[in-house]
Structures are given as structure tokens and as C-alpha cells.
Symmetry: C2
Subunit: 379 residues, 2 copies
């Protein structure tokens, strides 16, 4: 494995527990992490979920053990694997995003360099000039040893993957491993794996991607990349979302300029006006990534890696909040996201009590987190 | 007059003396200023020139009075005027460049706003898209009350002038007023003046522009403009020289981006990489110029304006340096430009002595100034 992370592998039953937990209703990456911190293991969190949900007035809907078994088997039968955060094969840069997926499904990519990566994204209705630019840029970055990450969409994405089949390419999917979108890129997906590249997704096997899964996928493209290059992008396009997510995760953002008369250049020109680096050739990207930026040092240092196995918090220790406490917290919450500190001040509750109550409300689907920092009632 | 400057008008004989002095051999704008500071008037400087040149071992070549008379008459017969630095009609922004021309020949432009100005320059072999972009940009800036300055070249320049005939446009010439280049733009030059726009040049009437006059002209385009927009520009083009001169004079530089596959966009893309503002529409320029930048405040405050008439230094006061002093200074000079402070330290001579010797060497064509600050022997 090229990832170079130092964690141990999960046992099969631990992996199944992780899979059940992340696939259970209202458990996203942030909640997953809170549950693991709180209960010490996925198994213990699964046991605690029903009573947490009940406390918030709903019934927990857990991912059935049989479905988790079936998913794991299907993944393995497709020559792929489920890799957990903290395991050696987990992409190192992805650990450092806000809310990294606890599990990714990964096909191929065993010998890729997952730490020297550049994302290249852009318009589906790319011009032939945009596609040519992509081929040249991706090809040159690939020749310099960079792995190219993209979203397997039509246009720029497909051009970026095709230009780097031989040097290393990663396609991030918005659906399950068996739901390549668009259909026309199914052969390209196969070629990517055959050439040693990778397909990666955080979505369940069998998952058909919906519109809202694409921005979520874009977060992984940015998260897997040291920098993201936007080649052609209209205003309000998915590529601009990827660029914004890249900035939020402290990655470099690059954009290829175009004539202001070409609507496909509006997004990339706007990015440059907002501070993205203007790219005319691979050298612009290489120079920029080669400059050690101390602010980005954190990307290459270890961050949160869950201990594999049982450790951490003991559920018996948890302070059990009262019904009054719950009412007080609900009154303090609103649809406007607010920091937990403010909730503590507003309610006068203890930290463990607020943590427990928020976890319950989270499991019950009644609150949502922004960036893992701010919490709000669902509107 | 719209210029709003507060100086008096020169008398006819003063104007002729200014003209003779600036047209005499080896008297550029910087030397002109030094001579005026030193001798108090153009008339006195003209009287002193022969002995200054003789001291440096050459014969002064003064512009004959008859030629100055003939030039002034030709200018006036063409409906134009010779405007001196410090006179009310002198373009206000031009006063603040390093080495402003002591005299400009100006046709038309009486009612132009010379202080709200944007330069627009670019490739002669402009694409139709580049020309369209220029028309839109110049037209919109003109509609917002900005006067558009350009160089009357083919391509972008001509498109910028044509789009602003009705709102106000200034064409800066590399040759004399009667030497419009290229020929195909003679009708455009006429239209500019007919519509109330201006032609302006620092070169003598009858002067046929040579290659090296164009960078010199570009300095005036930048100097007349609050900001300069480069629309299409190849690498190593005149437009990039204009942009560099604009930066040196602390003016805004803007560039319209283009596809990296288009060689006509190389220059403007490179400018953006170096910090020029990316422009897709007039609003980008307007927003930027509307922001009061304290560093640029000096542009709108009075700078050096020579007193018109006799005043200032008295030639009789000047310390006359010895032959030894001259030898010492020549030994200290080299082809590498150096500040005058270093020459003072190296020679141990007094400030007036060094000033006198440098002026003599300047008149003799043996030294050259960079930005009026650094001095070097001519190579």
C-alpha cells in the first residue's frame, strides 16, 4: 500500500460494525466520529443508538447486519475493498478534510501515489480547446509524477482521466461502485482500474447517484488533492463548488483563464479574480505546489485517527441528562447555526450533558452540523 | 480648459525658448528640468548650454530659433497648440510621471475629462473577439464618463478609439502631429479631433516615428491614464511595455484573460499572474478605480510645476568645478547606473559641483539617467 499511514487493519467484524454504523440513518461522518469518541468503538455505538434515538423521541433505524454483510461481499466480489479511516490504505490527504468519510470503497489504485495529487475538474460541455488544454495539463502533471483526481464526468473530467491512464488517475464517484455515471464512461472506469488507477466512493454499493450526491462527491475530489485546477467552468457550476471546498480545506485552487466572451470561462475567470492562481501550463501548478507553504503543513501531519478496536470513552460514564435539560437545549437551538460554546452558555448545562443531548438529536435527525463546528435545528 | 491646473500661460517668447531647449541635442525631459532648476528659465539655460557643453569637451547643438518659430507656426496652422508643463491645459495625470515632457503638442480635446482616464492597449493583429471585447469595454467605460487613451495602432487601439469617439478619446502619437502612423488610421485621427477627442505627442512637428519612439509613446499612454487595460498581447509586446510603465508610475494595470492556447493571450495572462487585475467587464475596472487608494493619492496632488518666467537659481552662483573634479567624477561613473549619493561619496565633491558636472556630461551626451535617479556613462 502506498498510503504510508500507520494504523492497523480492522477485523472483519469491526469493519462490518463500522459499515453498519455509517450506513445507519442520520449517521454522517461527523456524527460517526462523535459516536466513536463517545462510545469507544462502532460496536458499542451501535448498541447505544436505539436508546439515544429513543431519548430524542424517535426509533433508531440501524443498517441491518445482513445488508452490511451483503455490501462487503459485493464490494469484494467486484475486486474492490472497504477501507476505514485509520487503516494503511486510506488516502492520506482525505484524513484532513472536515468530516472525512469513515469508510471508502476503493477499486484499484494499489500503487498510486496518493499524496502527490492534483484534481482537475471542469465543464461537461467543454470546448475542444478546453479538452485539449486538459490533456496537455494533465499529461504534463502526470509525467511529473502527480496522480490526477477527477469526477469521471463528461468533458473535462473524462479528458483528465484519459490523459493520465498510464501515469495514475483517480475517479471519484457520486454513487456506488456499480453505478458509474454517466453510462458512456463505464468503459473509461474499467480502463482506469485496468491501468492501475482507482475508483473511489463513500456511497454504498448499489447506490444510484442523485443530484445532491455530486457536491458531496466534489468534497472528496478536493479532499484527495493537494490542489485543484478548474479548466472550464460556467458560473454556478459544480466545478466552482469543488474549488470552494478545496479552499475551505486549505488546498491550492488554480484556474485556466479564457475569453470573457466565452461563457465557459466565466467561472474560472471569476475564481482568478477571487484569488485562484492563473494557470497556463503545468509549470504554474508545479511551481506553486513545490513551494512549501507552512499553513498547509498540517496536511502532511497526522490528524485524528480513531484507535481501531475498543478504547476511549465508557458509556457507563456518561452523565444522563434529564428531560428538563433536553427541553432547555431545544429552546436554545434555532435554525441559525451556532457554536456549541454558545449553547453551553445559554443553557448552563455541563459539556457532557450537551454532548449527549446533541448526539441524541443528531441521531434523531433533528439537528445538522456545519463543518462539524456549528449546530442548528433542521428547518 | 478642463485640466484645472493653476499655472499661468507662457508668453510667446518663453514658449519658443522652452521649445528650443527641449529640442536641443541631448536635452531630454530630465535634463530640461535640471536646467530649468539650475538656470531659472529656458532662456537662461539656452544661454548657458554652449559653455556647459564646451566644459565637457563638445560643441552644443541648439535648436535654431527659426526652426522653433516654424514648428510653433506649423502646429498653430494645424489647429493645434504647444502646451507647457505648468500651463492650465497640460494633462494633469501626466505631470506625475518620472520625466514628464516639458511640452506636448495637442490637437483637440478642449472639453475632455483628462483626469478620469483609462488606457486601453493591445495587439495590432487582434482577434475579432479581442476587438469585440475592446468595443464593449471601451464603450462601457466611456458611458461611465471615462476618457479612453490609446496609441492609434491597428487592432485593439483603433477599436478602443472608434468605440469612444462620442464619449471622449485621446490618441497618443509616436511621431509628429502630421505623421499619423499607420496611414490607414489617418481618417480615424481626423474623426477623433472632429468629435472633440485629442491627438497628443511630445515629438516635433514633422517627426517620422522610428521603432524606438513607440516605447517612449507608451510611457505617455500610461502617464495619461489612471489605469491601463491590456486586451490582447503577445509576449514581449509593446502593450506589456505600457503595462510595466503604468506600474512604475503607480497606475492600475488590468488585463483581459484568454485561452492559454491563444498566443495573443500570453501577455495578458502573464500580467495577471504578475498581479494585474483580471478584467471581464467595465465594472471590474470601475470598481477598482473607485476604490480610493492612499498610495495613489499623490497622483491627484500638485507635484513639480516650474515657475513660468524668470526665477530660481542664478547661474552666477554656481560653483565652477575644476578639470580635476571632472576627471574624478568621470572615474567614479561607469556604465552601471548608480545613485548620485554614491557619486558624492566616491568623489568627495560638493553637491553643486557634481550637479554642474553631471549637467555638462548630460548635455554632451556622455551620460544617461534612469528614472531621473540613477546615472550611468553611455555604453
Amino acid at each position: 500500500m502506498a498510503a504510508g499511514s500507520s494504523g492497523d487493519l480492522l477485523t472483519r467484524s469491526q469493519r462490518l460494525a463500522w459499515l453498519r454504523l455509517i450506513r445507519s440513518d442520520n449517521v454522517g461522518p461527523v456524527t460517526f466520529r462523535q459516536l466513536l469518541n463517545r462510545f469507544g468503538s462502532a460496536e458499542a455505538a451501535l448498541e447505544a443508538l436505539p436508546s439515544l434515538a429513543r431519548n430524542a423521541g424517535v426509533a433508531a433505524r440501524l443498517y441491518p447486519p445482513g445488508e452490511a454483510e451483503a455490501e462487503l461481499e459485493a464490494v469484494e466480489q467486484n475486486g474492490a475493498r472497504l477501507v476505514a479511516l485509520g487503516e494503511p490504505g486510506y488516502p492520506p490527504l482525505l484524513k484532513h478534510i472536515s468530516g472525512p468519510p469513515p469508510l471508502v470503497t476503493l477499486a484499484g489504485g494499489d500503487n498510486l501515489d496518493w499524496s502527490r495529487t492534483v484534481g482537475i475538474v471542469g465543464a461537461r460541455n467543454a470546448s475542444s480547446a478546453g479538452q485539449k488544454m486538459t490533456r496537455v495539463l494533465a499529461g504534463d502533471l502526470g509525467a511529473e509524477g502527480y496522480t490526477i483526481v477527477s469526477g469521471l464526468a463528461r468533458g473535462i473530467d473524462a479528458a483528465a482521466h484519459r490523459a493520465t491512464l498510464k501515469t495514475g488517475t483517480v475517479a471519484v464517484l457520486a454513487g456506488g461502485l456499480d453505478h458509474i455515471y454517466p453510462d458512456e464512461n463505464v468503459p473509461l472506469a474499467r480502463e482506469i482500474v485496468e491501468h492501475g488507477g482507482a475508483l473511489i466512493t463513500e456511497m454504498p454499493f448499489n447506490w444510484e447517484p442523485r443530484a445532491r450526491d455530486f457536491p458531496r462527491r466534489n468534497r472528496l475530489i478536493a479532499g484527495l488533492s493537494r490542489g485543484v485546477v478548474v479548466v472550464e467552468a460556467a458560473k454556478r457550476s459544480g466545478s466552482l463548488i469543488t474549488a470552494r471546498l478545496a479552499l475551505e480545506q486549505d488546498r491550492e485552487v488554480f484556474a485556466v483563464p479564457g475569453s470573457p466572451l466565452d461563457p465557459r470561462a466565466e467561472g474560472s475567470n471569476a475564481l482568478i479574480q477571487q484569488g485562484a492562481r492563473l494557470v497556463t501550463a503545468a509549470a504554474d501548478v508545479l511551481d506553486s505546489l513545490a513551494q512549501a507553504d507552512p499553513r498547509r503543513k498540517a496536511l502532511f501531519e497526522p490528524d485524528w485517527e480513531p484507535e481501531v478496536g475498543d478504547s476511549g470513552g465508557d458509556p457507563a460514564d456518561a452523565t444522563m441528562p434529564s428531560h428538563d435539560d433536553r427541553t432547555r437545549l431545544l429552546e436554545a437551538l434555532s435554525v441559525t447555526p451556532m457554536p456549541v460554546d454558545e449553547l453551553l452558555a445559554a443553557t448552563g448545562l455541563s459539556i457532557p450533558a450537551v454532548q449527549t443531548l446533541l448526539l441524541e438529536l443528531d441521531i434523531a435527525g433533528r439537528i445538522e452540523w456545519s463543518s462539524g463546528q456549528l449546530v442548528a435545528l433542521r428547518g
